[in-house]
Amino acid sequence: MEHHAEPQGHHHVESVRTYLLVFGALLLGTALTVGAAYIDLGVFNDILALVIAITKATLIVLFFMHVRHSDRLTKVMVIIGWLWLIMLILGTMDDILTRGWIFGGR
């Protein structure tokens, strides 16, 4: 069988500039999340912290981990673990948050 081994060079090479921009955004996100933590935003403190963390993670996944140029299958595999984690947390929280409903609880 003939191996037509293509060099992997045809995989997209991100420019240094892009990496530096993403890097800047990640540092900015860190500064924002620290700053926001000191302001009382009510429930939005938790939501904002979560949104910033997810944004940072998404930037890392898309650029540093090259998922921006990956096929759909890889994207599914990126998401699936987090989806299942949400399932685990939702199912358990359903129990934790409703324990006092009928017989009274803590």
Binding site: H11, A49, V61
Partner: protein, 226 residues
């Protein structure tokens, strides 16, 4: 790159047809593995959210015990190391061996700095009796929260500890790749291990991106006495 590499790739496994197939299989395998890693940390995340819901006040108090300057510095250091890793993979893609070696070495330097700072934080926690178990002492103003603050500190150690173990594994992987890069094993035609090591390293960074606000920043705006 020699003709030989193109026609009889030495790095191609017997059961693959092309280097491309091999590369994409390896990358997919790594992503599947990272999905399991998400759920490994997931158990701890779940425990954190359950107890944070039930023991809200104690978790606010607990997160105040941790040094936000060290935590934020460490976050930045890990982001820098991730940038170094991304540039290392790029150097492999562009066939620049010297840059590859340099960036991998820098990745390790920043990774080790992270662990160094972590060690300082752990020591601080020991000195102030914030470690769970027999050494734990509650020093706040609401003694009824003692057990619950201890739970926070237990989760702090479990989560950062599991993360640190992953850092150690990541460092050994990067070290191995660094050695192989120095020996000239990787080039633009074959850099799969560099890519895989990079994926693992960035994943560890992502976990920290979530750990930092959960463990250091929760309820910072609330004044806690004691």
């Amino acid at each position: 790159m020699s003709e030989q590499t193109l026609h009889h790739p030495a790095n191609l496994g017997h059961h693959f047809d092309t280097l491309d197939q091999q590369h994409s299989a390896n990358v997919l395998g790594m992503w599947v593995f990272l999905a399991t890693e998400v759920l490994l940390f997931g158990g701890l995340f779940l425990a954190y959210f359950v107890y944070r819901t039930v023991y809200h006040d104690a978790f606010v108090e607990g997160s105040h015990h941790h040094n936000i300057v060290l935590g934020a510095t460490n976050t930045a250091i890990l982001i820098v190391s991730s940038l170094m890793m991304a540039l290392a993979v790029r150097s492999a893609q562009t066939n620049n061996r010297r840059a590859l070696v340099l960036f991998l070495a820098l990745t390790m330097v920043f990774g080790l700095s992270f662990l160094g700072i972590k060690a300082v934080e752990y020591k601080e926690a020991f000195d102030t009796h914030q470690v769970p178990g027999a050494l734990f002492q509650y020093e706040g103003e609401r003694p009824e929260l003692a057990r619950q603050v201890e739970m926070f500190s237990l989760l702090y150690f479990a989560m950062t500890g599991t993360h640190a173990i992953h850092m150690l594994i990541g460092l050994s992987i990067v070290g191995f790749i660094l050695y192989r890069s120095w020996r000239g094993k990787y080039n633009a035609a074959y850099y799969t291990p560099v890519e895989l090591g990079g994926l693992y390293w960035h994943f560890i960074d992502i976990i920290w991106v979530f750990l930092f606000p959960l463990l250091y920043l929760y309820g910072r705006h609330v004044a806690v006495g004691g």
